[in-house]
Structures are given as C-alpha cells and as structure tokens.
Amino acid sequence: MASVASKLYSDDVSLLVLLLDTNPFFWSTTSITFSQFLSHVLAFLNAVMGLNQLNQVVVIATGYSSCDYIYDSSSTSSNHGTGNGMPALFSSLLEKLEDFVTKDEELSKEKNVSKDRVASSLLSGSLSMALCYIQRVFRSGHLHPQPRILCLQGSQDGPEQYVAVMNSIFSAQRLMVPIDSCYIGTQNSAFLQQASYITGGVHHKPQQLDGLFQYLTTIFATDLHSRGFVQLPKPVGVDFRASCFCHKKTIDMGYICSVCLSIFCEHHKKCTTCGSVFGQSKLDDVSSVSDKKRKSPDT
C-alpha cells in the first residue's frame, strides 16, 4: 500500500558549505585568474542548486587574515538586481566578495607584525564558521538537508593553525559532516588531506585547472546518498605530519607530552599546555627512536 505519509525529504537534499580561498598571495601565482576560477565555481553552485529545489548553498570566503559568509541561498531576498547579464542570484555574492577582499586587505595591512608568516589562508576560521552554521541547521529541527563542507583551497597550510584546524576536523567528524577538499595549489596540503581522510570526505587535486568545472561536478557534486554507489577518487596517501606547538613548524618527529599529547619539536622541562613536569630524558643527545615518537595518525 502506498502510505499516506510520503517522505518529507528525499535522500539527496544537501547543504553545501563552500569555503572559497581568496588569498591574494596565492592568486597572484596561479595559471588561471581568480575571475576564471570564480566563473567555474559559480556555475558549479548553480548546478548544485539546480539539482534539487531544496538544496542549499552557503559560501564562506577564506581570506589572508579574516573570513566571512558571503552567500547563503536560503536567505537571498527576492529583489533581483539583474544587471549586466550576471545571474541574479550571484550579483549579491560578487558584491559581498568584493567588500570582503578589500576589508581583508586592510586588515592584513594593519597587522603586518608577523612578516615571516607563510602566505596561508585562515582555513581554521572558515572551517569553524562552517561548522557553526551546520550546527545551527542541525538544531533547527529534525528536517534538515544533509550537510557537507567543500574546501576550495589553493594556498599552502599555515602550520600555526594546526591545533585549530585539527580541532575543527574532529568536531566535523563528531557531527558526521564530511569535509571534501579540492586543492588547486602546487604543493600538497596536509591539512586538507587529513580533513577529508578523517571525516570520510573526498580529497582531490585536479590536474588541469581549465577543466575545474568538470572536476567539481563529477566529484564534488555527488550528494551523500549517492556516494554509497559511485566511484570516487580514493586517497593515494595521506600526509599525517603534525605541527609542533612551540614553533608551529611542520615536523616528522618530535616530542609528545604523555599527559595531554601536545607536540613539541624540542625537549622542554615542562609541558607548556598542561603544565606537567617531564622527567629528565635519559637519552638526551642520543638519537634513539624511543623518546622521539611519531604522532599517531588517528588520534
């Protein structure tokens, strides 16, 4: 018997939170311009929203020193600012993005203290914002689309964000929100690899950026329901390296506090995180493996 109670939400309704890398230091070095990149992304967003009327898209811009929501499809007002042939939906996005970029630039000029900082984006900030948004959606009632996060990142990792990023990743894991990542830079991002690995998302590094739209639709438009029966790229190898808490350097080997699992690149007398006093290392100068532990991959 066809039940009177029809299912209220079909399986493939999704909420996509897109983290957009707007770091000017990165975009000045790429083969495609930011606007070309943006046209691929906008088409992708349009496609995602076209797949289901209930699909929702949120875009968060990740800048050099700040991040902000720049688009939310659920709250777009109906006044269409259709001008110069742009899709009505995205004129507000572009406007906000422009505001954001200028504001971000000002901010980064203000605090030019850390000259030696790597030109990384504030991934930890935007990840947390995305998770906050998703948390709100979860609390809005039992009827919500299935959320997932997609990081479109190009700039390299900022080791100083290590703790914050890892914490975000673990909360995403707890919420069972997969973090997909599409790395468009030249190096490889250990953060993104770990994020996707731990949360069960997909990590991919497109070979050619000209065909970004095809990569995005083929891999990252797949809703969580369909992922159960579609071939998706598998991780070839995940970079599990951690950053030390003292100098924020990415390290292969280091010291770990046996109480709170903080990581240090050199020996300390006392843990700076939890205050435990370490015993004198017996093999201080000997390069033995026993006191230099690798950080275990699946904390």
Binding site: S3, A5, Y9, D11, A43, Q53, L54, T82, T218
Partner: protein, 452 residues
Amino acid sequence: MPQVRIIAKNFMDMVASLPAIKLDKLYNNVFICEAILRSLPPLAKKYVLQMLYITDPVPATMMEEWVLADGASKHRVAIDRLIQLRIFSEISDRKKGTSYNLNPTFQNNLQKHIISGGVLPREPMNSDNAIKLPSLQELETYALKQWECFLLQLINSGHGEKLTGISSSMMKIFQRGLMSQRDRDGPRLTESGFQFLLMDTNSQLWYIIREYISNAEERDVDPADLISFLLELSFHVTGEAYNLNTLTDVQRNTLKDLADLGLVKLQQGRKDSWFIPTKLATNLSVSLADSSVRKEGFVVMETNFRMYAYSTSKLQCEILRLFARIEYQLPNLIACAITKESLYNAFDNGITSDQIITFLQQNSHPRCADRVPSIPENVTDQIRLWEADLKRIEMTQAHFYDEFPSKDVFEAACDFAREWGGLLWEDSKRMRLVVKSEIHNQMREFLHTQSK
C-alpha cells in the same frame, strides 16, 4: 488489502509518456529542463551533470565503471529513466557497443541555465506599484481556504451551493473515479474517493492536476503546453505579482481554473490584472518527488476513544465523519467518538485501518504529536482489531483436483504443488487436493507429463 491506485506518484511518468515530438518541444523551455532534471533519480542527475559539457557519445561500458558494484541496479534504473525521457539517446555500434548521447536541446538549455541562471518570461511587478500585495501568511490562508472549498464542493456536489468557479463539467471530470453516480441515492464517494480525502494536500493536488492534464485534449488544449506552463509556474516566486498580459489566452484560461484551486490568486489592478502564485503552485515541482508542506495538526485522541478536533473547517468535519461519530460541534471544536459502528462504516467504504491511523498520526495536535505514541496504543490496536474482525475469511482463487489415477501420481502432484508454494489443502485418503490458481497452468502441464 485494497491498493491505492490513485496517487500520481510521479508526474514525470506522465511527461515520459508524451510522444517524442512533443517531448522534444518541451525541452525548448529552460525551466522544463530544470524541472525534469530535479525529478530524476539522484544517480541520473549526476550523469546529466557529468555529461553536460561532453558532446561525444559516452560508451555504456565506460559509464558502468562510474558506479560501484552495489550500485549496478541503481545505474540501470537511472539509464532507463534517462532514455525514457529522451534525455539520453542510445547509439548502437557493432564495433564499439552501445553509447549514450545527451539530448542536444536539453544539454544546451541546461548549460545556459547553469551559466546565466534562469530568466522567467515575465518580470514580477515592481514594489513601488500602487497595488497592495497580500502577505505570505494571507496568501497561504487564501490558498488553503480555496483548496478546502474545492474539496468540499467535490464531495458535496449533489447538495451544495456553488462555492468555486469551477464549471460543473470540470467538476464531473475530477469526480470521475472518486465518486460513483447512482440514480437512487445520488453521487457517493467510492473507495478511492475516501482514500483521496485522507491523503495530504500535495498528493491530492497532484491527483487533481493529473486529471486536469489528462483531460486537456477534450478542452482543445495541448497537454504538452499545459505541462510546460504548470512547470514554469512552479519557478515563479511566491507572493510576487506577475502581469496577466504576458500570458497567452490558453494560459489565462488555465490560470482561472488554477485560481479556483488556490494555486494562484488573481488581483485586479487599475489597468492591468495580476496573478500571484501561492505556495501550492511553487511547490508543484517539488512535490513531483516529495512534499514538504506540513500543516499543524488539530486532533486530540483520548484513550477512551473520544476525539477532539480543534478545527473550524467544514471539510475537516466531513473527513472525520468518514470514520467517527460526530457528537457535537462547538465554534472551534468538533467532539467525536470512534465507535465500532462508525469504523465498520468506514471499512465498508473501503478505508483501511492503516489509513485512519496514519491520518490521525499526521494530524495530531502539536501537544499530542510530541508524545510517543501520538495516538494511544489501545486505540490503534482496537482499530486494527475491528478491521481484522471483518476479515476472518481470506479468499484465494483456487483449483480443485481429484480422481488421480494412482497414489504415486497424487504424491508427485502434491510435491510439485508444494515446491511451487501453491498447495492449499490435500486429502491423501481420498486423493484430492486444492492448489492456488496461479500455478494451475504449471500443474496441468505437470500432470500431462505424468500421465504419459
């Protein structure tokens, strides 16, 4: 158990059954491409998106590699659907095997849609215009009121004042299948009619729209045009006013009918007329697959079988009357009781206990809906028991065999029937047996070979 035959679960089945030329014509409209894309199964959506910018045919063997082994059946369903809707065209090559191509018109339109977004053929009215637009709340109330009026007229056609502007001939069409015309006691709701009333608004709406479309040819309207207009309508923004003069005559006539159903609200301005789509209209393309309108419940069911319904609606009262005894009515409250007689009456009319229970569950008052279970268990159990009371006997079509030539043949026949799962009764002493009529043919063949 009676089957609910009347739910038009998938509107796209109707679209798929259109002749090829009409279907190709439909794809000229960007919004229809979009609506159809949305109605596809998830995997099919993915294929379309993936092949959006591929112009060469994609070999079937390659597509099979896109899915995991578990997804093979889903893959086939998706491909079949795409071919059925003529979105994919199949190209068979003896050397390379089968390959698929995306319908070029469809592909083009979707590409356009994805890059530049959809632009409706008509602009909404500027907000600085003099006419005051109804608020979303008002609009929703209007839509539901209109829909209720329509339903009331539908079930009360014999003795009811004319509430809506729907012509009686149109009403007859909608009633077809829901009401039986009898000379003596006037029109009566049929089994499916009762089931129809217990469905949620969106399913009801789809049933009516489907009837409306399938009847289009009798009114000299092309069903394809009608479908395309309805789908287009679902992309309009709820609560915005659109000018009527952007429509063709046929569309304007259709719109009048839709206004009677509560899908749009017509508003007369000083010079122009406007139409304002309501939530019912904009949900049309959603409800192709699923419904999302949730009404607040109003029924409080007590363990002593008494039921209090906080409703002023005449229609709700009529619906409750289908399976409960109305005891008295206060301005905002209907008090009724579920009794054995009232339920027997309902079962007689072909309503099942499950339908009644789901109806009660779906419409239970917010305060009760929080409780688990929202309907007292003794009531649901009793409703089921009373239904089971009426079904003490189960009927099965069967065939009776006797006069077997020998014990061996009889035994072999018994074993054969048991193997097929069709043995109902056997009497080995007098060599008689009864089997389900489904396997009568196999049985006969078997006995033929035995007798040789």
